[in-house]
């Protein structure tokens, strides 16, 4: 059951498959090209698993020079290229197409430099998000953006999707923590943007590249900001009798000028799923839960918590539970970060990613429940509440095509609701293929035309990840 289309494969590329494979083999070391049809199947999708297209070949280069060689070659022959990190995209950003070469960064996993005096780390694009923090943790530092998928997702993918995470409320998302990249343009030119010096006076190409979903070039190295770890951090659980109250409480916390490190929201279905997986001691007799993390010295944490507890009291908070130990704190976060995966224990799901103004949180939660009920489905909500980034997980049965179609339709309705409430289609998962056609709901033709024009400044032939982001109709002629 596929409702979202892909660009039709180019016959001229498909018919040259054998030659292309042969040529790519010459450009890459042994073991760096996957081309047997059956071996290509596992690359046909990412974490947006409802859609699948096996690629023509998968190149797994080991160096920037090899990335450049592959791009130069594909550019010359008009072969689409789909960059891929760890393939954890939830919007189908890394799903290939039949005539595409997947350019996977999974062999480029070296941490090139850690510079504490300047608080930067320079890494290859295939390095996972968590391994940056792991590498500097013993010395008291971390890399702040922490997508729940941080164990697996790569920094290249994070840059492409401008990924966020629970702790981004205080520290900002990828774009706010990225200092520089080395990237390969579509024709194979290698450029460097930014670096350890801030705010270059030219156009902010670094800012443009971040969040560009693999459409402007392939990032091979990144320099990111490291942050000194806080003295202490403590997650506290606040249980409420209704999602609306919890949502309103979030708006009031922020409205009072209090910015904790993280405010995460879970509704009852999500709590049950996460508790079953992590046994973190989430309260089970509440309808909604906020995980609020505060950090700093004991005195600072106590101070901030006191204000939050007061606000929560005004919203009839039922349970306030501080984590009792580092182990429990870790479990609380493990449960939260595993929420999507753990949902897989009970059903298939698609994960939405709309953002809304905080004042609309309660309304949109209610609206989401109505939409899902109308489509005869179930939903679990677990998301970054502090910045209004909602993640309704629509539960369905992937082996039932009608159910799958209903889930997709419900998802579209929810995202439209977010936009209508003054928000956006995506907070951190990107547009990918999933929200491509919904872009028209958020943008006018002129808005989209301007974005597409900029895209064309980088890739006039539209060969970089071409089936993504922009509605298929109404693209400029190539």
């Amino acid at each position: 059951m596929e409702q979202i289309g892909f660009l039709p494969p180019k016959p001229a590329v498909l018919s040259r498959r054998r030659e292309i494979v042969g040529d790519l083999k010459d450009l890459l070391p042994e073991g760096c090209l996957v081309h047997e049809p059956r071996s290509l199947v596992p690359f046909e999708t990412d974490a947006f698993v409802s859609y699948r297209r096996a690629p023509l070949a998968v190149a797994l280069p080991e160096t920037t020079a090899q990335v450049a060689a592959v791009l130069k070659y594909c550019h010359r022959y008009g072969i689409p290229v789909v960059p891929r990190g760890a393939g954890t995209s939830l919007s189908g950003g890394a799903i290939p197409q039949e005539d595409a070469v997947v350019l996977g960064l999974s062999k480029m996993t070296r941490i090139l430099e850690v510079d504490y005096a300047n608080r930067t780390a320079t890494v290859q694009a295939g390095v996972t998000n968590l391994s940056i923090s792991d590498a500097v943790s013993a010395d008291g530092y971390f890399y702040a953006p922490d997508p729940s998928s941080q164990l697996a997702c790569t920094i290249g993918g994070n840059i492409a999707m401008n990924s966020g995470g629970a702790h981004c409320l205080k520290y900002g998302v990828t774009t706010n923590n990225l200092l520089g990249v080395k990237m390969v343009l579509v024709d194979g030119t290698v450029i460097e943007l930014g670096g350890k010096a801030l705010d270059a006076p030219g156009l902010d190409l670094l800012g443009l590249v971040c969040g560009s979903e693999g459409q402007l070039g392939v990032v091979t190295e990144a320099t990111v900001r490291l942050i000194a770890k806080p003295e202490g951090a403590r997650p506290v659980l606040f249980g409420f009798d209704s999602s609306e109250e919890a949502g309103a409480c979030v708006a009031d916390i922020i409205g009072a000028g209090i910015i904790p490190v993280a405010i995460e929201f879970m509704d009852k279905p999500a709590i049950e799923i996460c508790e079953a997986f992590a046994q973190a001691g989430y309260p089970m007799d509440v309808e909604a839960l906020l995980i609020v993390e505060v950090e700093g010295s004991e005195a600072e944490m106590d101070g901030m918590l006191q204000s939050i507890v007061e606000i929560a009291g005004r919203h009839g908070v039922k349970v306030v539970k501080e984590s009792q130990s580092a182990t429990q704190a870790a479990l609380i976060w493990r449960g939260r970060k595993s929420a999507f995966g753990a949902t897989g224990r009970i059903a298939d799901y698609i994960c939405m990613d709309g953002t809304v103004p905080l004042s609309q949180l309660s309304n949109v939660l209610r609206g989401t429940a109505e939409i899902v009920a109308r489509h005869g489905l179930r939903v679990a909500n677990v998301f970054h509440a502090g910045d209004g980034n909602m993640h309704p997980l629509i539960l369905f049965n992937a082996n039932d095509p009608e159910d799958a179609a209903r889930a997709e339709a419900a998802g579209n309705d929810i995202l439209k609701l977010c936009v209508d409430a003054g928000g956006c289609l995506t907070g951190e998962h990107g547009v990918g293929i999933e929200k491509r056609e919904l872009m028209r709901h958020q943008y006018t033709d002129a808005d989209l035309a301007q974005q597409m024009a900029v895209r064309a400044a980088f890739d006039p032939q539209w060969i970089l990840n071409p089936s993504k982001v922009f509605p298929l109709e109404g693209r400029p002629a190539v």
Binding site: N118, A197, D387, Q451
Partner: protein, 400 residues
């Protein structure tokens, strides 16, 4: 004859742009006119945002504001002050240093991506900018971004417009995020350090979990000009702490203890702190009424003092540091020495130098903005072309 257009609406701006394209008349985009971004010929008309003024929406609970581009920064600051909120990036006011007048506008602030001391921890103007509306060089009215915190949907044109210095489009409206004004602030002063020692002290301070929100080094030559002379004698390495009163005092103690091994430690109260950091932000010591060349140099923090040390051997300079040493304000005694300066910047790991002030002849003779790598410059030019195919906007950006 230069005509100044000040449209009252986006639609009017669009008509002006279309007419200018048709007549092949270049347009210089102007906010408050506090900075001359364009140093080319005078054969152009001016498209001013002055009449596009006013706060469109202020939502303190969500910490966001939408304002028309020509809204005076002063109006915005006043509205924010009422709710104890602020722009996190501390927009600079360079009028005294540049010897210009005019009224800074919020559009101009974002168009120059001008950011003060907190930049180093809280991000630049571009990091606070959530969404924009603009008229491009074809006269089309376009929006990008949104009004929620996380809003990169499609390409992040918002970032591109921030700092685009009027070269891509005419900003008509901006939406940005705000932060609460910290309850209090304090400054820890370490006295008598040379530049290299100061770099080490600042690196140490930044590595601690005390959340330093400003780290600057004021060598002896400039130190007396700050904070009404309230800094102790000798060079001052200054570290700012902000937040709840209780928290600031706890962190202050910790920081003072750690800094003691570098030199004599003292502290400034909130009032002196506010004044000091405003002066650091606005380049107060070089607001000297002269046209001696003034550079704004951005390098890796540990490279700042090395750059200054190297230059000292070859030219008459004076300098102080912000951003943990990564932002160097350099005043040359005579010649701008652009080549020399940029050569050292490159040798020290890269960065960029912008000539902010000089005599008219020197400005004309010097590449004011840092030249860029060829491929990057070419790419920037292609992007400019996509916003402004007719080349109607004359604003300059590096490399173009």
């Amino acid at each position: 004859m230069t005509i100044i257009h000040d449209p009252l609406s986006e639609e009017a701006a669009s008509r002006i742009v279309r007419a200018a394209v048709a007549a092949a008349t270049p347009l210089e985009i102007r906010g408050g006119g506090t900075r001359t971004l364009w140093s080319g010929s005078t054969n152009r008309d001016i498209l001013s945002s002055a009449a596009l003024s006013g706060i469109v929406a202020y939502n303190p609970a969500e910490m966001t504001m939408t304002a028309k581009a020509g809204t005076p920064l002063g109006d915005i600051s006043a509205a924010l002050a009422e709710r104890r909120q602020m722009l996190a990036f501390e927009p600079l006011d360079l009028r005294p240093a540049l010897g210009t007048s005019g009224i800074p506008t919020i559009g101009g602030v974002f168009a120059t991506n001008a950011s003060g001391p907190r930049r180093y921890v809280a991000g630049a103007a571009r990091d606070s900018l959530l969404g924009v509306r603009f008229v491009n060089g074809s006269g089309e009215i376009v929006k990008a971004g949104g009004r929620v915190m996380k809003n990169v949907t499609g390409l992040d044109l918002t970032k591109l417009l921030a700092g685009s210095r009027g070269a891509l489009a005419f900003l008509t409206e901006v939406t940005f995020r705000l932060l609460p004004v910290p309850e209090t602030s304090a400054t820890i002063v370490v006295s008598g350090l040379n530049d290299a020692e100061a770099a080490a002290a600042m690196a140490t301070a930044m590595s601690m979990s005390v959340e330093v929100s400003g780290a600057a080094h004021l060598p002896e030559s400039v130190c007396g000009r700050f904070a009404g002379g309230r800094l102790p004698a000798g060079a001052a390495t200054v570290l700012r702490l902000e937040g709840l009163a209780g928290s600031v005092s706890v962190r202050s103690e910790k920081l003072q203890a750690a800094m003691a091994r570098f030199g004599a430690v003292s502290s400034l109260d909130v009032e002196a702190t506010v004044q000091l950091w405003r002066e650091i932000r606005d380049v107060h010591p070089y607001a000297d009424g002269t046209a001696r060349p003034l550079w704004r140099v951005s390098v890796a923090p540990t490279a700042g003092h090395q750059l200054v040390a190297a230059l000292r051997l070859e030219a008459g300079i004076d300098a102080y540091y912000d951003w943990q040493g990564g932002l160097v304000w350099l005043r040359m005694e005579a010649d701008p020495e652009a080549d020399l300066l940029r050569r050292y910047v490159k040798a020290l790991g890269g960065g960029h130098a912008t000539l902010m002030r000089a005599s008219a002849e020197a400005m004309a003779a010097t590449p004011v903005l840092q030249p860029q790598a060829e491929a990057v410059a070419a790419l920037s030019a292609r992007i400019k072309d996509k916003f402004d195919p007719a080349g109607v906007f004359v604003g300059a950006f590096a490399g173009a």
